[in-house]
Symmetry: C2
Subunit: 350 residues, 2 copies
């Protein structure tokens, strides 16, 4: 029998974290009678006087959200990380290791209107979001080793407020995922004298199997080692290291790329497509200011949970938690569907 | 300021996978207006003629589930892993690595009645489940490097059928999580000449801070490095290596321990508590048959998602996916609540 990736289970290696993913494409045939997701309703009002993220609304802590007109950033009222905390005592027992963690958590509204999302905002409005990301990054990266910009979109991704927004959590330390990437990217650079993701982009362009969007500044692919059903990576093609080294043109092109990708996502199952996304680039802060970032390539990752429709998601549970990541369609199948679905016109406009 | 674990964020190290967890106990104060879980209803009928796991029902593939009276095991009709698949071709590109995966997937019903769960079954009935686990393990471990016994319980953990059951996925290879554990446990053993988890059990017994259930054969703790809000580990105190080396007494005691733990879980928020759980022990199959398993200790892990009530769960999203695991209460707080809640009488009996 000849091996056919869309029929035969196999494992693929993720060179960014050193872990294998189990790919089982024949499994999408199984019937689903489990939990149904509620697709995000399109009934969010433009302004909701009880939503603390809306302009002019007083938050539970008594602070009033100003009448902002583009983006608006404020400190999370219930931050996971704060700046002033005492240092925990660490014994010498290797089984009970404890370490300090300082940081801060900000919330960033994308737009004053609650009923918009990135795909339904204009490219010009998305550019304003990118500029605000960069302003925040410039400020926070001076102090913190890691500035995690991320968006949880949709109730099924734990988002508790439908207003278009993201979060920025800054850390005095390098968290697990970036730490793993840092080590892997550095090792590859030492051997190959090229950034891993620059080589990866080049080969994906040759292979043309997993590409979703391609333009002079950015490449969107379903990575060869994708875990989530329609996971994508949005990778800089200009050897950018961090989000704050983008040129005006690269930013403009990024705004268009984000609009196109998120429009494709929404059109795929005709719903406001839930996901968690975030930016990864070279570490920052005084600790990393003088270290080489030659091995890094700026990129964003999108982790969307939906598998088969607006209501049927992939659960990362049981086997996935206890043994390893597992997916039910091949990355090439996912890429083809995303490539073919319209990215220019949002389904609500049709 | 003095460091107080229940007030000040910090990181803890998981020696079983080498990753840090961010602990942010002050965050449980934040209001929650996001997704609400539907608590598992108690309205499951004892027998449902349309449920393929019920005795005497014909499954979609035409096979009839027999009129079984205790446990019943069959091959998953939509398996992720099958035995006969061609070997994928692997090039020499480190960015596109692919590897074979053979295996099989079984479903194991715990009981003929759909309206039971482990905590509402008798200890004697749970013993029958344990005996079946061992029978399956004996058979499958002869061939496979890893036999993953796991239970997804509840719709919010991706379980698509309310009938009490678990799954057994066997793999021709060692998956990510057990591979990481294998390396960590072995390294600890090399340095300390003791199994890591044996030392851990001893120190938890001394510290008495995270214990949920303690008896001569088994210890249940919320591990120092727990990620999920009410995560627990059920650890053998008898230097067992695999589930099939338990004595009759240890199995009987295990049945009682599982009943007590799952009763505590259900009583905590007065609902059928969702979780993914599974067994980890020394690897198996011809490849590992002659390797030393001295560094291993048999244990089960429970990953339950609920955070604050039957309807408010913890989402492992955004920051957690992109940066690192993060929890909203300390393991000691979780352990205390589980220790104090009744484990002898199920809330439905009251
Ligand atoms: O096999 P089930 O119960 O239909 O499916 C469930 O468990 C599997 C193993 O953890 C997961 O891969 C699926 O995402 C989940 O929905
Ligand atoms: O801060 P939020 O949006 O209320 O909370 C959400 O994002 C956080 C960061 O990913 C997670 O820790 C929470 O579990 C999730 O519900």
């Amino acid at each position: 029998m000849q091996f056919v990736a869309t029929e035969h289970q196999h494992r693929r290696f993720n060179p960014l974290n050193g872990q294998w993913v189990l790919v089982c494409p024949h499994r999408t045939q199984r019937p689903w009678s489990g939990q149904q997701e509620k697709p995000q309703k399109n009934e969010v009002p433009e302004f909701d006087p009880s939503n603390p993220l809306c302009p002019g609304v007083t938050r539970p802590n008594g602070i009033e959200t100003p009448a902002y007109e583009s983006t608006y950033v404020f400190d999370n009222d219930f931050p996971a990380l704060v700046e002033a905390v005492p240092i925990p005592p660490n014994g010498d027992d290797p089984l009970f290791q404890i370490a300090p963690a300082r940081g801060n958590c900000r919330v960033m509204c994308f737009h004053p209107k609650s009923n918009l999302t990135l795909p339904t905002m204009s490219a010009a409005e998305i550019e304003v979001v990118i500029d605000e990301w960069i302003r925040q990054f410039n400020e926070l990266s001076a102090t913190y080793a890691w500035v995690q910009i991320f968006e949880n979109k949709g109730a099924s991704m734990g988002c508790s407020n439908p207003h278009p927004h993201c979060q920025i959590w800054s850390c005095s330390f390098l968290p697990t995922e970036p730490q793993l990437k840092q080590e892997r990217l550095r090792a590859y650079y030492t051997t190959n004298e090229r950034p891993l993701l620059a080589d990866y982009v080049e080969r994906e362009l040759q292979r043309q199997e997993r590409i979703v969007i391609e333009n002079p500044d950015w490449l969107v692919v379903v990575p060869f080692w994708a875990t989530w059903p329609f996971e994508t990576m949005l990778i800089s093609r200009n050897n950018n290291k961090r989000i704050n080294d983008l040129t005006l043109e690269q930013r403009q092109n990024l705004a268009r790329t984000i609009k196109e990708l998120t429009t494709k996502y929404d059109n795929l199952f005709q719903c406001s497509f839930p996901y968690s996304m975030g930016w990864h680039g070279a570490p920052t802060g005084p600790e990393h200011a003088h270290a080489s970032s030659a091995h890094w390539t700026l990129h964003a990752v999108y982790y969307p949970p939906l598998l088969r429709s607006a209501t049927v998601r992939k659960f990362m549970v049981g086997f996935e938690l206890l043994a390893m990541a597992q997916r039910d369609l091949t990355p090439e199948q996912a890429a083809q569907r995303l490539r073919e679905v319209d990215g220019t016109r949002h389904y609500l406009e049709k």
